[in-house]
């Protein structure tokens, strides 16, 4: 198996940066750690999951989809060569889920162009990043099974390199690679996996909750209580790696000139389902929350992502960033009570 020396990683990223917009874990001046444009001095391997998942690269929060100039329509399909370094396996699963959705029925050309232009380098997860990680339950971690171009295992001074695609292979050309004997590498990976899994216990209640949802056995009060607390921020949908809803709107700049944009939308907003007549099939916040969680845990069951469990990838972001604690884990807890 190919290996890289950890001390070379900065150099390698600099080389990749020459041809790609590299997004990598970055320690900001103020102490925040987020994914940002690679900067040698601020780059770090000591990072946690950032609020935004990599979907924000393929599907930016706001994006111009066409321009009208002199009354002529011009599609804007923007895609720069990009590389996402250091994403975790849950986010890799998120990309696969979102991509599968965005290429079903009508292909989303904007999404696909950006996705095709972006390489992914996964860092296998050495341990739970915080107490909300449950990727072992959703079958999405701690290491990615496929979808990536490269996956790296940090085993100390050395990074084991798993190649997932020809593009991954290509990324390695000219890099200072070394070799580790296959059986030894396999043993190292097994060890890595064992250690990681120990820190991310399976949350059985997620499965129980899915079954209860399937049997429609949930007291409305569960949703009513959550509905009373929800402040309709939309954050849970925005941080979720598999949420892909958007709203379309126009900016007219002058007669015959303008742009059409799309921007993230959320099923938690009441206007999302309000019909032109004013009627809203999901009139209460409780019903909207119910819908959202059914969608994640139930309807996405048996998706075409055969090796995933459901529409939730177990990253725990909705639990981390909901201001009133209505994440998947809290919902599961309330359902299984």
């Amino acid at each position: 198996m190919k290996t890289l020396a950890k001390k070379d990683i900065n150099k390698i990223l600099s080389i990749w940066s020459q041809k790609h917009d590299v997004l990598a874990p970055t320690k900001m001046d103020n102490g925040d750690c987020i994914f940002s444009a690679f900067d040698e001095k601020a780059f770090t391997l000591d990072y946690k999951k950032p609020p935004l998942s990599p979907k924000s690269v393929f599907f930016p929060q706001s994006e111009i989809i066409f321009r009208v100039e002199k009354n002529r329509y011009n599609e804007v399909v923007a895609a720069k060569k990009a590389l996402i370094f250091g994403l975790r396996s849950c986010d890799m699963m998120g990309i696969r889920q979102a991509s599968s959705f965005m290429s079903r029925d009508n292909k989303d050309i904007y999404y696909q162009a950006r996705q095709n232009a972006a390489a992914t380098v996964v860092m296998a997860c050495p341990k739970a990043q915080n107490e909300t990680c449950f990727c072992t339950t959703t079958l999405s971690g701690p290491v990615a099974k496929k979808g990536f171009d490269l996956q790296l295992y940090d085993i100390g001074d050395t990074l084991l390199v798993e190649i997932g695609s020809p593009r991954g292979e290509e990324l390695l050309t000219g890099m200072p690679l070394a070799e580790m004997e296959e059986s030894q590498a396999k043993q190292k990976i097994d060890e890595f996996l064992q250690n990681a899994i120990l820190t991310i216990p399976e949350v059985k209640s997620v499965i129980d909750a899915m079954n209860k949802l399937k049997d429609r056995k949930i007291a409305e009060k569960v949703w009513d209580d959550f509905g009373a607390k929800c402040i309709t921020c939309g954050g849970c949908a925005f941080v979720c790696p598999t949420c892909t809803c958007f709203n379309v709107y126009d900016h007219q700049q002058a007669a015959g000139e303008g742009i059409r944009l799309r921007a993230w939308d959320a099923c938690l907003y009441s206007g999302f389902t309000r019909e032109a007549s004013g009627h809203n099939p999901r009139a209460s916040q409780a019903s909207r929350l119910k819908r959202r969680h059914e969608h994640k845990l139930l309807d996405y069951n048996n998706t075409d992502i055969q090796d995933g469990l459901c529409g939730c990838v177990g990253c725990g972001r909705c639990s981390d960033y909901c201001p009133v604690h209505i994440g998947t884990l809290e919902v599961v807890k309330a359902i299984t009570g």
Binding site: N30, G31, Y249, G278, P323, V324
Partner: protein, 534 residues
């Protein structure tokens, strides 16, 4: 009282309080991420006491919700203090060692026994007693209030009464207690701190103080600084109407929508010889201007902002301003230069250095420190100082805290036979201020596209108004049409609406009668009549 108008405590301390007294603040809608801390605190067992005429969303979580008649806050708070003294629930040690004027307070609040307060406020005596006991007995009790307290002709009295209550029970000078005004706009605190007020320079240094005057004259290398307080915005509008104020330069405000009694403001502005407005959009006020300067938005410039807990934070330039728009600071520098006083700042960082040097509480809030962390809370007098999470720890900034008892006074305009409803105003979750920014965000506009008049079902029935019917609401100052929202959120005989929507801006109706000290107009109560449109 005991200091300047700022939160005594910090947002993070909301997580440690045992009881919240929320009054005149629709916290989950106006300060959402403070509101959510109260919701979360409730779930961990904290108590929530709300004093508000409206059934605000937070009321769902309240242990006790007192819905007082509009404008009777002083009576309610005095009534609570009456019970607390009567039942010996006050903090004797705190009162003896840290305060003065207790006897006077005792005398005034003795006139407000629960039965008397019930008559004024409509709050049952038993509930008032319960509220008083809850607040007094809690270990860490925080008061949070907003414009519902200040926007009355008795706004200052309301604030004083909150302070009296906190001092009486010793809920001050520690973590997770205090009197916490939640400031509305993102830099109201900073605008005040920087001396955007007629009577003080930055950091509340009085213009009438000869030493302060001398200090600024030397630092600015000028002579003859004005040593008499200037006019407040409310006074300026009156002066303009009377022809005494000739020219007005407005930066980033929209008084034509945000100020009470629109007709009066309109007249005042048109009476000016010269009006300059500097903004990012052509606001209703800008449309009246002689010159409009295009300004940069927050994303297009560097600068610092001070939040409601006195924390100064850094924001940096992300993109260039559109077209020829320029940051406000550059525009001011240009005007100054042309007026013969060159201001030589290369960047906002240079301005901050001058602020550090001339404003004691901002002395240690340097760019360097701000960029390395998440902000600093004033007072922060020097670069070693860590900033101040809560105020008045061992003593009040003015030594002993003085009880300033107040008597109840009714609102300036009460309903009568003709104008038989009380109108109260506020904001909604999805819109901000006069809507210049939020109404240009499609999702926010979709969620809340129009002004609604909230009216109680009982009244709606009497007037033959159904939900979403068009109604006309009029006061002595003007009249508006909008759709009705029939809801229990407002009590009978009270209607509510907002000032976000220029199509039906409620300030056409509001009364410009204001508090004699703070000059804050009475947005929260005026008399109106309502009828269904044919």
């Amino acid at each position: 009282m005991f200091g300047s108008g700022a939160m005594t405590n910090s947002i993070n301390e909301f997580d440690a309080a045992d009881l919240f007294l929320v009054t005149g603040s629709n916290t989950t809608e106006q300060h959402p991420l403070i509101g959510t801390r109260i919701i979360n605190a409730k779930q961990r067992g904290a108590q929530l006491l709300i004093i508000d005429p409206r059934e605000i969303p937070l009321a769902k979580f309240a242990d006790l919700h007192l819905r007082q008649n509009i404008g009777t806050d002083v009576a309610v708070l005095n009534g609570m203090m009456n019970v607390i003294i009567e039942e010996n629930l006050y903090d004797k040690e705190f009162v003896t060692t840290r305060t003065e004027n207790f006897e006077q307070l005792k005398e005034v609040v003795s006139k407000y026994p629960p039965k008397a307060v019930e008559k004024i406020s409509g709050i049952a005596a038993a509930d008032l007693k319960k509220a008083a006991r809850m607040y007094a007995k809690a270990d860490k009790a925080m008061i949070a209030y907003a414009m519902g307290i200040t926007q009355h002709t008795t706004g200052v009295d309301n604030v004083k009464s909150c302070a009296n209550l906190a001092m009486l029970t010793g809920h001050l000078g520690r973590a997770a207690v205090g009197v916490n005004p939640l400031r509305g706009q993102n830099n109201v605190q900073g605008a005040c701190d920087m001396g955007g007020l007629p009577n003080v320079y930055s950091a509340y240094q009085p213009v009438i103080d000869a030493n302060v005057k001398k200090k600024f004259e030397e630092a600015w290398k000028v002579e003859g600084l004005d040593d008499k307080p200037g006019l407040t915005i409310t006074d300026m509008m009156n002066a303009a109407q009377q022809g005494e104020l000739k020219a007005l330069y407005i930066m980033g405000e929209n008084p034509l929508m945000s100020d009470p009694d629109t007709a009066h403001i309109e007249h005042a502005l048109s009476n000016l010889d010269f009006l300059v407005v500097q903004d990012i959009f052509l606001s209703e006020t800008a449309k009246k201007a002689d010159v409009v300067f295009p300004a940069a938005s927050f994303a297009e410039k560097d600068g610092t902002y001070t939040n409601t807990e006195r924390k100064v934070q850094l924001a940096c330039k992300a993109v260039n301003p559109p077209g020829q728009a320029r940051p406000d600071w550059q525009i001011i520098c240009e005007i100054s230069k042309l007026a013969g006083y060159p201001m030589n700042y290369e960047s906002p960082a240079d301005v901050l250095k001058e602020i550090n040097a001339l404003s004691p509480s901002y002395g240690g809030i340097t760019l360097e420190r701000l960029s390395k962390g998440f902000g600093l809370q004033w007072p922060c007098p020097n670069i070693e100082h860590p900033g101040t999470a809560f105020l008045h720890k061992d003593k009040f900034s003015k030594g002993l805290g003085t009880f300033m008892p107040c008597e109840f006074k009714p609102p300036a305009e009460m309903p009568d036979d003709e104008y038989d409803f009380m109108l109260t105003t506020g904001r909604i979750y999805y819109q901000f201020h006069t809507g210049t920014m939020t109404r240009r965000v499609s999702i926010l506009e979709r969620e809340a596209p129009e002004a609604l008049l909230e009216i109680n079902p009982e009244d709606a029935k009497k007037l033959g108004i159904r939900n979403k019917d068009k109604v006309e609401v009029s006061s002595r100052r003007g009249s508006l049409q909008m759709k009705a929202e029939v809801t229990e959120r407002v009590p009978p005989r009270v209607v509510f609406s907002t000032f976000h929507f220029s199509e039906a801006c409620i300030n056409v109706l509001t009364n410009s009668a204001f508090d004699p000290v703070a000059k804050i107009p009475e947005y929260k109560g005026c008399a109106v009549k309502v009828r269904r449109c044919a």
